[in-house]
């Protein structure tokens, strides 16, 4: 069972998908190592990771398109892979939306959607339901190649949902869409999945996509899960430097912790959890507050960079020790390059044990 650790926080509800220390090798390369994750019924889990980290392979192992080399996979309490068992993909009742949609080019939209259904009146009704669900009612007689990218995407979704799969897997479902379209389609798909009460795993390399679409996010680094948590928790309480650096921008400030306070070169800062000894505190740009100062202030830092993004300024600041951090400031503020500023934090901070000096 998944341990009740900070890496895998507990959750309540009917568990639909469970992967336990799943392993996968391609030749000499260990692509997935000791991967454990679980998804409860009706939930959307995002599997987030950089390219080549093994997330697509994980998805394909869940679907049964790839054999596992160790561990096990359960769906609805039924063992589908592991301990010498490998249920064929066609017998798993797991739907998949492929990155390039993989629509059958020789079949109409309706026939694509009915592909996985038993023939009969029921199937026709189910096709109409599925197409209505994705907002493509009346498109049944078109061919896939006559549709736009976003429409093809929704056909792929309807096709995968039509047989009422136990779990729906989506491999980078939005990566082939124009950036403008992506946000809208993402929201739509989320609503469709909610309405269908589908249990889904979504693979993505886009953290914004993961954080905004999923109920929970599993961050995958080097073939293993680094942390699984709600999006807010993953962002604000990363369990390691790797996680902190992957999600959002992360800068570190060395200091000496003593209980809930850490002493740093910019002064005492509050900690989110008690710690003792040499630590590095995580400073995200939006946690940093700047105020005007002058050269004589021994704690003052110097502004070395300034970028304007309309809604905010991104200010690069060099501390006296040489440490570089960034601060996000509101549209009304202005700190020019060369100005002296005082740095403080707006929230209690996360501390990681300090790295040994090099």
């Amino acid at each position: 069972m998944v341990a009740n650790s900070p890496v895998h926080e507990t959750q309540s509800g009917q568990r639909t998908l469970l992967c336990l220390s799943v392993q996968k090798r391609f030749g000499d390369v260990q692509v997935v190592r000791d991967l454990s994750l679980s998804v409860v019924s009706g939930q959307i889990l995002a599997l987030l990771g950089s390219s080549g980290c093994g997330k697509t392979t994980t998805l394909r192992m869940i679907a049964g398109l790839e054999h596992i080399d160790g561990g096990c996979i359960e769906v609805d309490g039924e063992l589908v892979a592991g301990a010498g068992i490998h249920t064929a993909p066609e017998r798993r009742r797991i739907g998949m939306v492929f990155q390039d949609y993989a629509l059958f080019p020789h079949l109409t939209v309706a026939r694509n959607v009915s592909f996985g259904l038993e023939r009969g009146d029921n199937a026709r009704r189910r096709v109409d339901e599925a197409l209505d669900l994705v907002g493509l009612g009346g498109f049944g007689e078109r061919l896939p190649q006559d549709l736009s990218g976003g429409q093809q995407q929704r056909v792929a979704l309807a096709r995968a949902l039509a047989p009422k799969p136990r779990v729906l897997l989506m491999d980078e479902p939005f990566s082939n869409l124009d950036p403008d379209l992506r946000v809208a389609v993402r929201r739509e798909v989320r609503d469709i999945l909610r309405e269908a009460k589908a249990t889904a795993v979504l693979v993505t390399h886009d953290q914004e996509e993961a954080l905004s679409t999923a109920d929970r996010v599993a961050l995958m680094i080097d073939g293993g899960i680094a942390q699984t948590a709600k999006p807010e928790v993953l962002y604000s309480r990363p369990v390691s430097r790797e996680v902190a650096s992957f999600i959002g921008e992360a800068y570190y400030l060395p200091g000496a912790a003593n209980g809930d306070i850490v002493e740093t070169e910019i002064g005492k800062l509050p900690l989110a959890g008690p710690a003792v000894g040499a630590v590095d505190v995580l400073l995200r740009p939006e946690f940093v507050r700047l105020s005007s100062s002058h050269e004589d202030d021994c704690r003052a830092a110097i502004v070395t960079r300034h970028e304007y993004f309309g809604k905010y300024h991104m200010i690069g600041v060099q501390l006296r020790s040489g440490t570089f951090i960034k601060a996000m400031t509101g549209p009304g503020t202005h700190f020019g390059v060369g100005e002296f500023v005082q740095v403080s934090s707006t929230v209690p901070l996360i501390a990681f044990p300090g790295l040994p000096a090099q």
Binding site: S51, A63, P89, G116, A160, H205, E249, F324
Partner: protein
């Protein structure tokens, strides 16, 4: 103090994970249902070569002796001469044609671009026949010249001159199609860059365009040279002593099979070297080619006053390569009195040709399928070797395959000897590459993702093959099928040597007519053969070329 700064994921968005090579390589072992037939096919393809090798070395000291006889030397040099000159002249005809039909405002450009590929539908031996009829002693041209000018003898068309002319006229389309494709794939920006660097149009062509075309020209020229070396009909009609003719004469005139086998082995060595050269060229030409589908259309040169010279050139080539043979054949047809018996015989020949072509196509396409699936879906060292091996037939001249199967059939499989089955096997070995190429292309176009999608929707392996793979691969399978059927109908030496006695096809009918000197009788079967293969083979050849190059 160290400076800790990590690049965040928003700053460097990673590219979406592609289906990496490592993952594809780690696929499961090929299933025995496919592997065993593919291995059998590979052995079948290899068998004629092995037999020739065994046979030629069988007689011990006879091989070096027969190889270094003066006649062998002259045959070798004749073959080399013919191959070289045909390659050069075919390229010289083809490159201007390709340029005119792709890069200029030639009137009726699209029509000419189709017409220029048309000589491919005329079997080269039919073409040679009509050349003899036109330019030979007591031929049509001499007849015209005799009256007004009193010319009683034209320079002899037999021997090198006639073979060279016929092979040039009927194989230049290989170069033409290759170069045409290269012209279409050329990036216009390179030419524009050359112009901006101060080169005139002529210098631009020779310094910026032509070097890029070199691999395509070389590949096409090698194809036509390979055709010249493998061809049997033309050189036999023209009585020019090259390998294929020498092999056939040796086969007919003596019981010493080793000598014919030794000659065939030298010929095969010749052709294998050429095919290897062609592969090498094609591999290199990929480096030169720019991404297809250039964003901007290419600018066409305005020929201006030279327009009609261009039309004249295209027209002259077309007249010689298509007009002349068609004219001669129709002339003969008009003059020749066909009896009822001849029509009956003609119908029989046509029926045999078509049914043989279709049967050979079904057989060959089926034999190639396991190898095609393995090489596309289960890529690995073994399957790649099997695929390469299946392409060997491309380098085996029909006469060499025929010779090997005649001997092997008579000796080891008498039950098949003198049956259509042995003929079908011979065709399969020779034309396996065509079927395999078409099948591979159509399978490669089907994403494995689509088959996997079918699996996740609850369809098993066989159901996926039936409902997804087969319907999607059908156009490619049909293309391969049509290509094999058409080439089989035109094939001469294999049909002649392996067909059961009394089994006549259009090709053997034409051949027999020439052997008895009754050239007029060849007209009807030749015209039927050309008409049957014209339209579809043109489409196929043009498509096939785009796919292979």
């Amino acid at each position: 103090m160290q400076l800790i700064r990590r690049a965040s994921a928003t700053e460097f968005p990673p590219v979406p994970t592609p289906w990496t090579r490592a993952q594809d390589r780690a696929r499961r072992m090929p299933p025995p249902v496919l592997l065993i037939p593919a291995l059998a096919v590979a052995l079948l393809v290899l068998s004629p070569l092995v037999y020739l090798l065994v046979r030629a070395t069988d007689s011990g000291s006879a091989l070096p002796e027969s190889l270094f006889r003066a006649r062998t030397m002259s045959v070798t040099s004749n073959t080399a001469l013919l191959a070289t000159t045909v390659a050069i002249s075919a390229s010289s005809i083809a490159v201007p044609l390709a340029w005119l039909t792709t890069r200029t405002n030639l009137p009726h450009r699209r029509l000419w671009s189709v017409l220029a590929g048309l000589p491919l539908v005329i079997p080269s031996y039919v073409g040679a026949l009509t050349i003899i009829a036109a330019l030979g002693p007591r031929g049509i041209v001499q007849g015209w010249l005799e009256g007004p000018f009193g010319i009683e003898r034209l320079p002899s068309i037999y021997g090198f001159a006639g073979s060279w002319l016929a092979l040039t006229l009927f194989t230049y389309p290989y170069v033409y199609l290759s170069v045409q494709a290269a012209f279409r794939g050329l990036d216009p920006a390179l030419e524009e860059a050359a112009r901006c660097l101060g080169m005139g149009p002529t210098r631009t062509f020779f310094q910026a365009v032509l070097p890029q075309l070199r691999p395509a020209i070389a590949a096409g020229a090698l194809l036509s040279a390979l055709y010249a070396v493998s061809d049997f009909g033309v050189v036999s009609l023209m009585r020019y002593d090259v390998f294929t003719r020498a092999i056939y004469i040796q086969y007919q005139s003596s019981f010493d099979r080793s000598a014919a086998a030794a000659l065939a082995l030298v010929l095969v060595t010749f052709t294998i070297v050429m095919v290897a050269g062609e592969w090498w060229m094609r591999g290199r030409s990929r480096h030169y080619r720019v991404a297809t589908g250039a964003a901007r259309p290419q600018r066409r040169h305005d020929l201006g006053r030279w327009k009609w010279l261009g039309v004249g050139y295209c027209g002259a080539v077309f007249t010689c390569s298509v007009g002349l043979p068609m004219f001669v054949l129709l002339y003969w047809l008009m003059r020749g009195a066909s009896t009822g018996d001849a029509i009956h015989r003609l119908f029989n020949q046509a029926w045999n040709s078509v049914s043989l072509g279709l049967a050979a196509a079904v057989f060959t396409v089926a034999l190639a399928l396991p190898t095609a699936i393995l090489s596309v879906r289960y890529r690995g060292k073994l399957t790649t070797t099997l695929e390469r091996q299946a392409y060997l037939g491309f380098a085996l001249p029909g006469i060499a395959i025929a010779l090997a199967f005649v001997y092997m059939g008579a000796r080891y499989i008498p039950s098949l000897y003198q049956t259509v089955w042995l003929l079908l096997i011979g065709y399969a070995v020779r034309f396996l590459p065509q079927a395999l190429g078409a099948e591979r292309v159509s399978l490669l176009q089907i994403s494995p993702r689509i088959e996997e999608a079918s699996r996740t929707l609850g369809e098993g392996i066989l159901g996926t093959l039936r409902r997804v793979t087969t319907p999607l691969a059908t156009p490619g399978l049909l293309a391969g099928f049509g290509l094999v059927a058409l080439t089989v109908m035109k094939e001469l030496p294999l049909t002649m040597m392996l067909a059961p006695i009394e089994f006549e096809t259009l090709a053997t009918g034409i051949w027999q007519a020439t052997q008895t000197g009754a050239y007029g009788r060849a007209a009807a079967p030749a015209l039927i053969l050309i008409v049957v293969s014209a339209a579809p083979s043109l489409i196929l050849s043009q498509r096939g070329f785009e796919q292979t190059s």
